[in-house]
Point group: C2
Chain length 479, copies 2
């Protein structure tokens, strides 16, 4: 519990709009959006600008009150949920939602941390540009949260993760000082890259308050294709062939197991398989051009796919005839999680391995999991070109009580899958971060040198431990 | 001075080939290659592998002997020169010169730190790939040094600096532990990015021993053009026009002041101006395709330049008719530093500012410098698209004693130029790093929050201060 006198001190810094203490107003922000983590906090601090963030952090540092930075509260790993003991306050960035500058000539946008991703998409589109990162939570997720979790999505193959799109950063460090690094310098070799350190730090080293973000030209012409293949090996061969023919214009390349497709067709109304043949695996590809030069993306994709069919890499292929069909192809990919939920309880893993090892991993790890946990089925889908898939282990058919199955089997299956990932040099968190959900497993599997380096940095930046406590850094008993 | 008994202990770890104590063998490595810094060391440690590096660092940590990591000794800022008091030992990575793996299918090379850049270029070319970073010192500079200084060059516009090309890293941390991060994961959100922290750290946080590096397809077709323009503003407009027409295939875009061109034509035999008109500014552009698709780069560049001439952005333009002509265009750019040296003494600055501000900066800062220091002439050339130029202030005509002029005027001119850079949110070190040369100026101009963050990280990683002492981190009296 935070004392009233301390909350009054925050109020005097942030004004009445800047401190929310009504329990009903606080409640929605105490639970992560998947409903797995529940915290407590006596107040939400909602500063209106960077100076107010700095003042709030300085007071938190002085009084030793931990702060949990929060944007859209869309963490997949409990990264923005306060501790259950009510010792911390939430610091919400949602009031800081201005796009400070939008410069199409320079392909730059300067956004405050609370700008919602879809708002940035709209603003960029209005000046014939785009911000090339998107994900399911785009209507809620904020720029600050996307930076602090180094978010990915389906366009990483071409444009990289958030890490590659942030050109400058402004942040409040744990002592309340302001790190002013918004100037977008393409080359800057003045020592350690503090910007890169804050990206993906999950709010444990400070609070990102604004960023300069890279825009790219709007899409002038696109082509979306669906290809049936026999194996993940063939899917990777198809990606390499596509890269040779289409170069940097391959914007999306997603692999989908046929069982996942089947679940979409069963559970999502209005979906149908884009090709006539049901193959064991499927690929969704998008090719984008920023100009109208000939040959356009459809023609170039067609010639690449003709060669893939001829070389027997692909079994069947279709190119969307129009935008509606393209959206229908993408809708299958985007409905996979929902269809899997409808299908039944499953444990889901967000993992990466080196790209070349991914085809074998997808097959071998699924086989091994099904053998080790009889009755389960395992399969994966996702960003093959990034070496990142979402790997699902489904409860045995007929399992009625999902939570009970997870309680009984969850930890053993987690250990099994994470060990398999570690064995091929992979990461147990490709996109979602560590938060509180993966902290113990991270501690168990990471090398002592990596954990020691993380702890040293954390202590150096935040000696009082006030920034997002309980997230990311394994506890002493966790490795 | 390092005691003999301690050198004996290093010898027992590294063998006789691993410890060089002959003064003649050590001498060349005690001075930076521009001859500005002179150090002393009783031995060069030359470990043969990562385990030996780890053992040597552990012993250094135990005994408190500072180490100066060294690759090709091509630092522009005295970053690899040991302290003059002889308290440190050099740790050379040059024996670790194996390319551990070369995987064209995955576009990856795993190189030890001592691999020379041109060796990697050759190895990649042999498998129809290339490593898209090059610079003048490529015959000496090593991968470890290029990573530790986040090197740039003329291909950054398209491919980024070293930071964008390192996919994985192996390093020995200051306590002798090995950070094993060679697995090239395109997505990995397990906490702070230690890899990015080590890139550009100038050996002050540990020793990079190997890296996984990104390769790209070999060039199948190229076009090189020379364009005369009226101003840096028009040069930037030309870049934007080229990007619209040619997209990602613009690999190089260099701006050259006409006086710099004049010095090349005067001092470098066999050079001639590629266009018939002498304009105030010139642009060198290279467009590369990885495939032979039509229209090829020459045809596309021609159509872009036609539009630039029509819109009066360009005054005159030429496209190289063949490879020999393309090399002749590039030779002008690459001879600029040599020609400037032949022209007379000059102070040289490696600076960056936000791209949009660079045209005005190039004109205004040169005018201001010439007014403030009568008799001097100032001009710049370099990577306009990266917001990075090499800015030269030349001694007044007839200055015979360059060193005396620099001793008298150097500090005042440094301050003047660096202040101008800082005033527009730029960096006093775009490519070369801080080393010992720019340490005091960095301390003077950087914000207290940035310096505090750097010092905190340094202390966290290297509490005993044994890694490359005296480099990068401003001393207490320096800000």
């Amino acid at each position: 519990m935070t004392g009233q006198s301390i909350i009054d001190r925050f109020s005097s810094l942030l004004g009445s709009k800047g401190v929310i203490t009504d329990r009903d107003d606080i409640a929605p922000w105490l639970t992560d959006w998947r409903g797995r983590y529940h915290g407590a906090a006596d107040a939400i601090l909602a500063p209106a600008n960077t100076q107010e963030v700095a003042a709030a952090v300085a007071l938190a540092s002085e009084t030793g009150i931990p702060l949990v930075p929060q944007g859209g509260n869309t963490s997949m790993v409990g990264g923005a949920t306060p501790p259950a003991d009510g010792s911390a306050l939430i610091l919400s960035l949602r009031r800081m939602n201005h796009i400070r500058a939008l410069s199409p000539d320079d392909n730059l946008a300067i956004c405050e941390a609370g700008v919602i991703l879809s708002s940035l998409h709209d603003a960029a589109a209005a000046v014939a540009r785009r911000f090339p990162l998107s994900l399911g939570a785009k209507g809620s997720a904020t720029i600050g949260g996307l930076i602090s979790t180094n978010a990915g999505g389906t366009q990483v193959l071409r444009h990289g993760t958030m890490r590659a799109l942030v050109e400058g950063i402004e942040a409040v460090l744990p002592d309340g000082s302001i790190f002013e690094g918004l100037d977008a310098l393409k080359k800057d070799n003045r020592g350690y890259d503090i910007k890169q350190l804050l990206i993906g730090a999950e709010g444990t080293l400070g609070i990102v308050t604004a960023a300069s973000l890279r825009l790219v030209p709007a899409i002038a012409a696109r082509a979306v294709g669906w290809i049936g293949v026999r194996s993940p090996d063939d899917a990777l061969a198809l990606l390499r062939l596509a890269e040779t023919h289409l170069g940097d214009s391959v914007e999306g390349f997603e692999i989908i197991a046929d069982d996942g497709l089947g679940h979409v067709l069963s559970h999502i109304p209005g979906t149908r398989c884009p090709i006539g043949t049901r193959t064991p695996w499927h690929v969704l590809i998008e090719v984008d051009h920023a100009d109208m030069s000939e040959p356009g993306p459809a023609q170039r994709l067609e010639s690449a796919l003709a060669q893939a069919l001829e070389r027997n890499i692909a079994v069947d292929a279709a190119i969307a005839a129009n935008d509606a069909q393209a959206e229908a192809f993408w809708r299958i990919r985007e409905s996979l999680s929902e269809a899997e939920r409808a299908q039944g309880p499953a444990l889901q893993y967000d993992i990466s391995v080196p790209v070349a090892r991914m085809p074998a991993f997808m097959v071998d790890a699924a086989d091994a999991a099904e053998r080790a946990f009889p009755g389960t089925t395992a399969s994966s889908f996702g960003h093959l070109g990034d070496g990142n898939v979402h790997f699902h282990v489904r409860a045995p058919k007929g399992t009625m009580d999902g939570p009970a199955w997870m309680a009984a089997q969850g930890q053993a299956i987690n250990t099994f899958i994470h060990d398999a990932v570690a064995a091929v040099g992979g990461s147990i968190s490709a996109e979602h971060g560590i938060g509180q959900m993966k902290r113990a497993e991270f501690g168990r599997l990471a090398s002592p040198a990596r954990i020691a380096a993380l702890r040293a940095i954390k202590t150096a930046f935040d000696p009082k431990g006030i920034m997002n406590p309980g997230k990311l850094i394994p506890r002493p008993d966790e490795g």
